[in-house]
């Protein structure tokens, strides 16, 4: 009796282990594929790489992660980053990391607000609830300026100083891309995303 139970138990354990390993392998493979689901490339303007270009995609069916707070810092009398791209509905925190008061406002298109004076070490936040471009200034320091572009897509990023960009969570396929850069230059096109193959977008 004991030996029969032992055989059954052994068989169950074996089955459970094999199933578990198979599941883990499947999950790992899926994760690897998800990690690979990224489109990367470079933005060029007239053949030269271009920083601070907002790039976003339309038509990505993968479920986007929930929007998280992002930071537009004030440090050394400038906004960091100079160009910020967010998905509409994102809350942007604007800490004063400087040594003087700041007064952040935006009166143009996009989100309109005036945060008033606030001191070092404090933070105020604005939710960019609709798509649009907001030009951000400090009413005390005229050199401080930044752009916040809210778009109706979770798949959005900004090119780095070498013009490179990467957007995660984009499986292979064909998508419509949009790009914007300071000066209100916009561009639109179609791109085919293949795993591990960089793309190039921009202006002629």
């Amino acid at each position: 009796m004991i030996s029969v139970l032992s055989r059954h138990t052994t068989a169950r354990i074996f089955t459970a282990v094999v199933t578990g390993v198979a599941l883990l392998a499947g999950v790992a493979a899926a994760s690897a594929r998800a990690a690979d689901d990224e489109v990367s490339g470079v933005v060029r303007v007239g053949g030269r790489s271009q920083k601070d270009v907002v790039v976003w995609l339309e038509g990505v069916t993968a479920t986007p992660p929930p929007a998280q707070d992002v930071v537009l810092d004030q440090r050394n009398l400038q906004f960091l980053p100079h160009v910020l791209a967010v998905r509409a509905g994102t809350r942007v925190r604007m800490p004063n990391s400087d040594r003087v008061f700041h007064n952040v406002f935006s009166f143009h298109d996009g989100k309109r607000f005036d945060l008033g004076l606030y001191p070092v070490g404090t933070t105020k936040a604005v939710t960019f609830d609709r798509p649009g471009l907001s030009r951000i200034f400090c009413n005390i320091h005229p050199n401080m300026a930044a752009y916040v572009l809210a778009v109706d897509s979770a798949h959005v990023t900004v090119s780095d100083r070498d013009g490179r960009f990467a957007i995660a969570g984009v499986p292979p396929g064909t998508y419509t891309w949009h790009a914007w850069r300071p000066g209100n230059h916009t561009a639109t096109g179609r791109m085919t995303v293949e795993r591990g193959r960089p793309v190039e977008i921009g202006w002629p």
Binding site: F107, N139, P142
Partner: protein
Amino acid sequence: MRGLAALTACWLHAGVASGQSLGVEVTQSVGTSSESISAAGTQIRVLGEALPGLRWNVEGAWATRSRDESDVFGTAYPYEGRAELMEAYGEYHFAPGRGLRAIKGGRYRTPFGISSASDHAYIGFLRPPLIRYGEYYALSSGYLEHGLDVVVGVPRLSVEASVGVSADVGPAIRRPGVNTVVRAEGMAGALILGASFVDTTPYMPERFARGRSRFGGVDARWMKGGVLVRGEWLGGQPFDGTSTTGGYADLIVHRPVMGPVTALVRAERLAYDAAPPRALYSHRYSAGARIRLWKTVAASVGIAHQAGQITQRRRTAFDVGLTGSFRQDYRAHP
């Protein structure tokens, strides 16, 4: 200024190490007044972060004007016609828990009242408050310290103390001596309140002004919906046997409907009480606007009506100015 230029050149030549940042700001202003005075000024500021929390700031200026008989354009820097080093300091800023601590050493503006360069030169309005012009027996926006400054508190309530020796620029140069400044600042909602005390040497010669110069003052700022109300009031003695009281109140409006225009209205008074005929009294009412023309280029216009004994060639004066500013960052902070 040679030091500033050399420092800048070294930084730009050597590049900026990883994790550091360097920004260079150049501001050029020109202006003219119906008092038959014209002025031009250039300000250069080099600022950066050497390590996280460790920042430095170097500011120099050159400015000149056609006459000196007025305080027009006397806000941001001295108009002596030569290059001046304004500020050059390092500051370590850290926040243990929810606290706020900062220690600053070097050459910096006397931290009495609303004293930062940003506030002094506020959005290009052209005249300093009467209580902050060098030769009016109160304080000067050209007062500078060579010293050490410590801030302790939390973001909404802090105390600042400074010990230094005078290193002034402009028409009022204090006699050598040790200066102390204590300041407390608190914030509740949209209201920021401050109280300051300074004990320093007078700027007049000793044969005329004996003893110490001591002032206490309060300041307030309130802002909501693009409307800023701010002001300062001080009282004390510029030297033994005299007293000065005075202050100003500003209403600054920048509402969305105004677009690129920011408007200012100011009322101020100053009373210097001394043996006749030296006593002075003056009040002034000003209105002005700054118009952002293009990016960082702005025009400012102002009208000032003044009564009293303090020099002004005309009781009512019109001032106009144009300011352009440029900034270059050599490496953004990560």
